[in-house]
Symmetry: C2
Subunit: 122 residues, 2 copies
Protein backbone atom coordinates (compact mmCIF):
# COMPACT_ATOMS: atom_id res chain seq x y z
CA UNK A 1 0.00 0.00 0.00
CA UNK A 2 2.62 2.48 1.02
CA UNK A 3 6.25 1.95 0.30
CA UNK A 4 7.62 4.03 3.06
CA UNK A 5 11.15 3.76 4.11
CA UNK A 6 9.50 3.78 7.49
CA UNK A 7 9.25 0.07 7.13
CA UNK A 8 7.04 -1.65 9.59
CA UNK A 9 6.47 -0.70 13.09
CA UNK A 10 3.59 -2.48 14.77
CA UNK A 11 2.55 0.80 16.32
CA UNK A 12 2.24 2.50 12.97
CA UNK A 13 0.16 -0.38 11.68
CA UNK A 14 -2.04 -0.35 14.74
CA UNK A 15 -2.76 3.31 14.33
CA UNK A 16 -3.63 2.65 10.71
CA UNK A 17 -6.06 0.02 11.88
CA UNK A 18 -7.66 1.90 14.74
CA UNK A 19 -7.98 4.96 12.60
CA UNK A 20 -10.29 3.26 10.13
CA UNK A 21 -13.76 4.57 10.32
CA UNK A 22 -15.98 2.93 12.95
CA UNK A 23 -13.35 0.53 14.32
CA UNK A 24 -13.07 2.23 17.68
CA UNK A 25 -16.81 2.70 17.93
CA UNK A 26 -17.32 -0.97 17.23
CA UNK A 27 -14.77 -2.01 19.80
CA UNK A 28 -16.28 0.29 22.37
CA UNK A 29 -19.74 -1.16 21.88
CA UNK A 30 -18.40 -4.67 21.95
CA UNK A 31 -16.51 -4.03 25.15
CA UNK A 32 -19.80 -3.57 26.95
CA UNK A 33 -21.20 -6.89 25.78
CA UNK A 34 -21.56 -9.04 22.68
CA UNK A 35 -24.01 -7.87 20.06
CA UNK A 36 -25.89 -9.14 17.04
CA UNK A 37 -25.34 -7.46 13.70
CA UNK A 38 -28.25 -5.05 13.61
CA UNK A 39 -28.03 -4.55 17.31
CA UNK A 40 -24.40 -3.54 16.93
CA UNK A 41 -25.33 -1.25 14.10
CA UNK A 42 -27.77 0.53 16.40
CA UNK A 43 -25.34 0.59 19.29
CA UNK A 44 -22.64 2.19 17.20
CA UNK A 45 -25.10 4.61 15.70
CA UNK A 46 -24.89 5.96 12.19
CA UNK A 47 -22.82 3.26 10.54
CA UNK A 48 -24.29 1.66 7.49
CA UNK A 49 -24.50 -2.06 7.08
CA UNK A 50 -22.04 -2.44 4.22
CA UNK A 51 -19.31 -0.67 6.09
CA UNK A 52 -20.11 -2.51 9.29
CA UNK A 53 -19.97 -5.87 7.55
CA UNK A 54 -16.64 -4.98 5.97
CA UNK A 55 -15.14 -3.83 9.27
CA UNK A 56 -16.34 -6.86 11.15
CA UNK A 57 -14.87 -9.18 8.57
CA UNK A 58 -11.57 -7.37 8.78
CA UNK A 59 -11.53 -7.41 12.56
CA UNK A 60 -12.38 -11.07 12.52
CA UNK A 61 -9.52 -11.78 10.14
CA UNK A 62 -7.18 -9.93 12.45
CA UNK A 63 -8.35 -11.97 15.40
CA UNK A 64 -9.85 -9.06 17.28
CA UNK A 65 -13.47 -9.99 16.94
CA UNK A 66 -15.05 -13.42 17.16
CA UNK A 67 -18.10 -14.15 15.07
CA UNK A 68 -20.40 -16.95 16.16
CA UNK A 69 -23.31 -17.98 14.01
CA UNK A 70 -25.84 -19.21 16.50
CA UNK A 71 -28.43 -20.13 13.92
CA UNK A 72 -28.70 -19.69 10.21
CA UNK A 73 -32.45 -19.49 9.96
CA UNK A 74 -33.75 -17.43 11.50
CA UNK A 75 -30.42 -15.65 11.37
CA UNK A 76 -28.73 -15.05 14.66
CA UNK A 77 -25.10 -14.10 14.87
CA UNK A 78 -23.06 -13.00 17.80
CA UNK A 79 -20.05 -10.73 17.63
CA UNK A 80 -17.75 -10.50 20.59
CA UNK A 81 -14.19 -9.53 21.30
CA UNK A 82 -11.34 -11.99 21.48
CA UNK A 83 -8.51 -11.63 23.94
CA UNK A 84 -6.77 -9.16 21.66
CA UNK A 85 -9.98 -7.26 21.32
CA UNK A 86 -10.57 -7.02 25.02
CA UNK A 87 -7.02 -5.75 25.38
CA UNK A 88 -8.09 -2.70 23.41
CA UNK A 89 -9.95 -1.77 26.53
CA UNK A 90 -6.85 0.13 27.55
CA UNK A 91 -7.01 2.24 24.43
CA UNK A 92 -10.70 3.00 24.69
CA UNK A 93 -10.17 3.78 28.33
CA UNK A 94 -7.42 6.25 27.56
CA UNK A 95 -9.64 7.93 25.01
CA UNK A 96 -12.46 8.17 27.52
CA UNK A 97 -10.15 9.67 30.08
CA UNK A 98 -8.89 12.22 27.60
CA UNK A 99 -12.36 12.98 26.34
CA UNK A 100 -13.76 13.83 29.74
CA UNK A 101 -10.87 16.12 30.52
CA UNK A 102 -9.84 17.72 27.29
CA UNK A 103 -12.51 17.24 24.66
CA UNK A 104 -13.30 20.61 23.17
CA UNK A 105 -16.89 21.69 22.96
CA UNK A 106 -17.91 18.91 25.24
CA UNK A 107 -21.65 18.81 25.34
CA UNK A 108 -22.91 17.06 28.37
CA UNK A 109 -26.34 15.60 28.55
CA UNK A 110 -28.23 13.52 31.00
CA UNK A 111 -27.56 9.96 30.09
CA UNK A 112 -29.05 7.76 32.69
CA UNK A 113 -29.47 4.46 30.95
CA UNK A 114 -26.83 4.07 28.32
CA UNK A 115 -23.65 4.63 30.15
CA UNK A 116 -24.05 4.14 33.80
CA UNK A 117 -20.36 4.58 34.24
CA UNK A 118 -18.56 7.85 34.16
CA UNK A 119 -19.89 11.31 33.95
CA UNK A 120 -19.86 11.41 37.67
CA UNK A 121 -17.71 14.40 37.19
CA UNK A 122 -18.96 17.24 39.18
Amino acid sequence: MRGDPHAFCPVYDSIDLLQEKWVLHIVRSLLERPHGFNELSRAVGGVNTSTLAARLEQLERLGIVLKTVESVMPPKTRYELTDSGVALHGVVDAIEAWARTHMPRCREHAEGATDGAGVATA
Copy 2:
Protein backbone atom coordinates in the same frame (compact mmCIF):
# COMPACT_ATOMS: atom_id res chain seq x y z
CA MET B 1 -24.46 15.11 9.90
CA ARG B 2 -25.97 12.25 11.78
CA GLY B 3 -29.10 12.71 13.80
CA ASP B 4 -28.59 9.94 16.23
CA PRO B 5 -30.68 9.60 19.25
CA HIS B 6 -27.28 8.92 20.73
CA ALA B 7 -27.01 12.60 21.27
CA PHE B 8 -23.60 13.78 22.30
CA CYS B 9 -21.14 12.01 24.40
CA PRO B 10 -17.67 13.50 24.50
CA VAL B 11 -16.21 10.05 24.12
CA TYR B 12 -18.12 9.44 20.91
CA ASP B 13 -16.93 12.75 19.56
CA SER B 14 -13.35 12.06 20.57
CA ILE B 15 -13.38 8.77 18.78
CA ASP B 16 -14.74 10.53 15.73
CA LEU B 17 -11.85 12.93 15.94
CA LEU B 18 -9.05 10.46 16.59
CA GLN B 19 -10.37 8.22 13.89
CA GLU B 20 -9.79 10.79 11.18
CA LYS B 21 -7.01 9.81 8.90
CA TRP B 22 -3.52 10.81 10.08
CA VAL B 23 -4.61 12.45 13.33
CA LEU B 24 -3.03 9.83 15.54
CA HIS B 25 0.09 9.66 13.41
CA ILE B 26 0.45 13.41 13.63
CA VAL B 27 0.01 13.40 17.38
CA ARG B 28 2.52 10.61 17.75
CA SER B 29 5.13 12.47 15.77
CA LEU B 30 4.45 15.67 17.63
CA LEU B 31 4.75 13.93 20.97
CA GLU B 32 8.39 13.30 20.26
CA ARG B 33 9.16 16.93 19.55
CA PRO B 34 7.84 19.92 17.58
CA HIS B 35 8.17 19.79 13.82
CA GLY B 36 8.04 22.07 10.82
CA PHE B 37 5.50 21.36 8.11
CA ASN B 38 7.55 19.38 5.64
CA GLU B 39 9.46 17.79 8.44
CA LEU B 40 6.22 16.60 9.97
CA SER B 41 5.09 15.35 6.62
CA ARG B 42 8.20 13.22 6.41
CA ALA B 43 7.93 12.06 10.00
CA VAL B 44 4.37 10.92 9.54
CA GLY B 45 5.20 9.29 6.26
CA GLY B 46 2.83 9.00 3.35
CA VAL B 47 0.47 11.86 4.07
CA ASN B 48 0.06 14.43 1.34
CA THR B 49 0.40 18.08 2.04
CA SER B 50 -3.20 19.11 1.47
CA THR B 51 -4.49 16.60 3.93
CA LEU B 52 -1.80 17.45 6.42
CA ALA B 53 -2.59 21.14 6.18
CA ALA B 54 -6.28 20.46 6.67
CA ARG B 55 -5.68 18.25 9.70
CA LEU B 56 -3.31 20.70 11.30
CA GLU B 57 -5.77 23.51 10.88
CA GLN B 58 -8.49 21.42 12.45
CA LEU B 59 -6.29 20.35 15.33
CA GLU B 60 -5.29 23.91 15.87
CA ARG B 61 -8.92 25.02 15.96
CA LEU B 62 -9.63 22.35 18.53
CA GLY B 63 -6.77 23.55 20.68
CA ILE B 64 -4.74 20.39 20.38
CA VAL B 65 -1.92 21.74 18.25
CA LEU B 66 -0.19 25.08 18.47
CA LYS B 67 1.13 26.66 15.30
CA THR B 68 3.89 29.21 15.59
CA VAL B 69 5.09 31.11 12.56
CA GLU B 70 8.73 31.80 13.31
CA SER B 71 9.41 33.63 10.10
CA VAL B 72 7.42 34.28 7.00
CA MET B 73 10.26 34.50 4.55
CA PRO B 74 12.02 32.24 4.38
CA PRO B 75 9.09 30.29 5.75
CA LYS B 76 9.57 28.59 9.07
CA THR B 77 6.68 27.31 11.06
CA ARG B 78 6.63 25.24 14.17
CA TYR B 79 3.86 22.84 15.11
CA GLU B 80 3.72 21.55 18.64
CA LEU B 81 1.17 20.07 21.00
CA THR B 82 -0.75 22.10 23.51
CA ASP B 83 -1.64 20.76 26.93
CA SER B 84 -4.63 18.91 25.52
CA GLY B 85 -2.43 17.51 22.82
CA VAL B 86 0.19 16.27 25.20
CA ALA B 87 -2.56 14.63 27.22
CA LEU B 88 -3.17 12.37 24.23
CA HIS B 89 0.08 10.78 25.22
CA GLY B 90 -2.00 8.35 27.27
CA VAL B 91 -3.92 7.27 24.20
CA VAL B 92 -0.86 6.82 22.03
CA ASP B 93 0.78 4.97 24.86
CA ALA B 94 -2.12 2.58 25.19
CA ILE B 95 -2.00 1.94 21.47
CA GLU B 96 1.73 1.28 21.63
CA ALA B 97 1.24 -1.13 24.50
CA TRP B 98 -1.48 -2.96 22.65
CA ALA B 99 0.49 -3.00 19.42
CA ARG B 100 3.53 -4.64 20.92
CA THR B 101 1.47 -7.33 22.57
CA HIS B 102 -1.43 -8.01 20.29
CA MET B 103 -0.79 -6.59 16.87
CA PRO B 104 -1.43 -9.30 14.36
CA ARG B 105 1.24 -10.00 11.78
CA CYS B 106 3.69 -7.97 13.77
CA ARG B 107 6.80 -7.63 11.69
CA GLU B 108 9.70 -6.76 13.81
CA HIS B 109 12.71 -5.13 12.35
CA ALA B 110 15.81 -3.58 13.67
CA GLU B 111 14.79 -0.06 14.37
CA GLY B 112 17.80 1.79 15.52
CA ALA B 113 17.47 5.17 13.92
CA THR B 114 13.93 6.02 13.06
CA ASP B 115 12.15 5.28 16.25
CA GLY B 116 14.87 5.76 18.73
CA ALA B 117 12.93 8.33 20.63
CA GLY B 118 9.65 6.65 21.17
CA VAL B 119 8.26 6.19 24.50
CA ALA B 120 10.08 3.02 24.27
CA THR B 121 9.54 0.25 26.50
CA ALA B 122 9.00 2.08 29.60
